[in-house]
Amino acid sequence: MGSEKEVNVIEIHNLNKSYDGFALQSVDLQVTAGRIHGFIGQNGAGKTTTIKAMLNMMPLNAGEIKIFGKDFQKDEQTIKEDIGVVFDEMGFHEFMTPKQIATMMSYVYANWDGEAFQKYLTRFGLPLKKPCGKFSRGMRMKLQIAVALSHHAKLLILDEPTSGLDPVVRNEILDIFQEFIVDEDHSIFLSSHIISDLERIADEITFIDKGRILLSGEKDTILEEHAIIRCGKKESDDINDDCVIFKRMEAYGCEILVNDADAARKKWGDALVEPATLEEIMLFYVARENGKARL
């Protein structure tokens, strides 16, 4: 059985953008078609700036961005026809009703599907004629998602779509994303600082911190490769392999993140080496960067 060549829906090379007190530094990023790509980072790490750059919402200092293999500078309109974007804040005027928003979007998108929008509204329990300013945060998010899905977008770009939502609504929204991705032509780029969400649904993960990509790849591979060694302070002095990402001294001992779990298990045994969660991996990488910064 021959393996199919994977296609990248988003390709970013050497993206640089700087402004007051912040800089995206040589960001390289690939998002594979048919996958959910999680983009993790602390607040202010550069997630939204990267998304804005992707959407051609700001001038770049350097770099190349391709979406669906097309150059944003040349094919912006064609690309945007196939993209649905959801921000953490709604962005529609509060006096506008979903009906008015649908009318507006029907003029904007050639592929706007009014019936699909109506179905999503019914499914999400959103009233057609109520001003969206009267919606709860969860309802506003669902409205944005309904709009993003109703022009048959192939790629959803979501910037913190689940932040500030209660667990029930968050779960509901994550289910919608998983349904969307069932179609192999569909892809999702999802930025969040809620790692548990990404742990649940993402296929690929990219960590960003202070404008730099720290780690990027398949989620399962990242989780398989990384492990935490928990040991005493004295034992930790002997663990100085290349695979060590960062050592964190605690009151009761030491925690060490390694990026070659198999090698670590062979050397130090299963008892000491435990699987790492995405959250732990991110915290250790960030701590390493902070340590470097302090040096």
Binding site: K80, M90, G91, F92, M104
Partner: protein, 258 residues
């Protein structure tokens, strides 16, 4: 473009909820003042017993109210048109618009069309209101209250406001709403301030009716110049708008709005 224009019209509909009562209140106030001047007092007016003709003494006051109404209503509408920018900014719609399948030229065109729509509505309502007030004043007494002159007056005001908006829109795209407002206000207030200073000086130098006659004379002179070079002015305005539009598209593409 059509989608964004539709959204702006939804904004207009929302803004009209406050603008229409304000226009009506302004009109009623002006009508009451003008009628009471014409009839001597409100009691006479209501009884309809005595009808005093408009005369040289009360004409300036009546004219003042008519010019006032011609200025206030369009200014109110143009402020509302500017509020569309503000409403977009408050809602975060500017961010949304840049994710949509909308060309920069289309986004800017929609905004200019919105201004022109607001302008047309404001000029129409202002003309109607001024005509009602002028007619109630028995507007045959002085030349400046004829329909033809009122139309000219409205057109001059429209041209000034169009000039102002033609400057303000690219400034908004270049500097953002707050800085753009400050910059355009400076541009607007400098000539208005100079005119005001000139007026104050004249007020000291010329007593009541003389000042009025002087201003009317200036108004006639101005109107003559405007009529003499009308085509050049129309062409100039079109060119001015082409440049303003081009700059707006350029600033929009650069993502200058903060």
């Amino acid at each position: 473009m059509r989608g964004l224009y539709y959204k702006d019209m939804c904004c207009l509909k929302k803004l009209l909820h406050t603008m229409i009562p304000v226009c009506i209140a302004t009109l009623i106030f002006a009508l009451l003042v003008v009628l009471s001047i014409r009839y001597g007092n409100m009691g006479r007016m209501l009884s309809g017993e005595v009808e005093e003709a408009i005369n040289e003494e009360n004409a300036p006051v009546i004219l003042f109210y008519i010019i006032g109404i011609c200025l206030l209503i369009p200014m109110g509408f143009f402020v509302d048109a500017l509020r569309c920018f503000e409403m977009d900014e408050q809602a975060g719609f500017e961010k949304v618009v840049r994710t949509l399948s909308v060309k920069a030229a289309d986004a800017v065109t929609a905004r200019y069309l919105t201004y022109l729509t607001f302008g047309a509505i404001s000029m129409g309502s202002s003309f109607l209101s001024a005509a009602i007030v002028a007619a109630s004043a028995g507007a045959v007494g002085i030349e400046e209250l004829s329909m033809k002159k009122l139309t000219q007056l409205i057109l001059v005001i429209a041209a000034v406001l169009l000039l102002f908006c033609g400057i303000q829109i690219p400034l908004f795209y270049a500097l953002g709403k707050k800085k753009g407002t400050v910059a355009s206000l400076i541009l607007f207030l400098v000539p208005v301030g100079l005119l005001y200073l000139k007026f104050i000086t004249l007020l000291d130098a010329l007593p009541g009716m003389e000042l009025f006659r002087y201003l009317m004379e200036k108004f006639r002179e101005g109107r003559n110049i405007v009529s003499r070079y009308l085509w050049a002015e129309v062409v100039g305005m079109v060119l001015f708008y082409v440049i303003s539009y081009g700059l707006s598209v350029r600033f929009y593409r650069k993502g200058g709005r903060k």
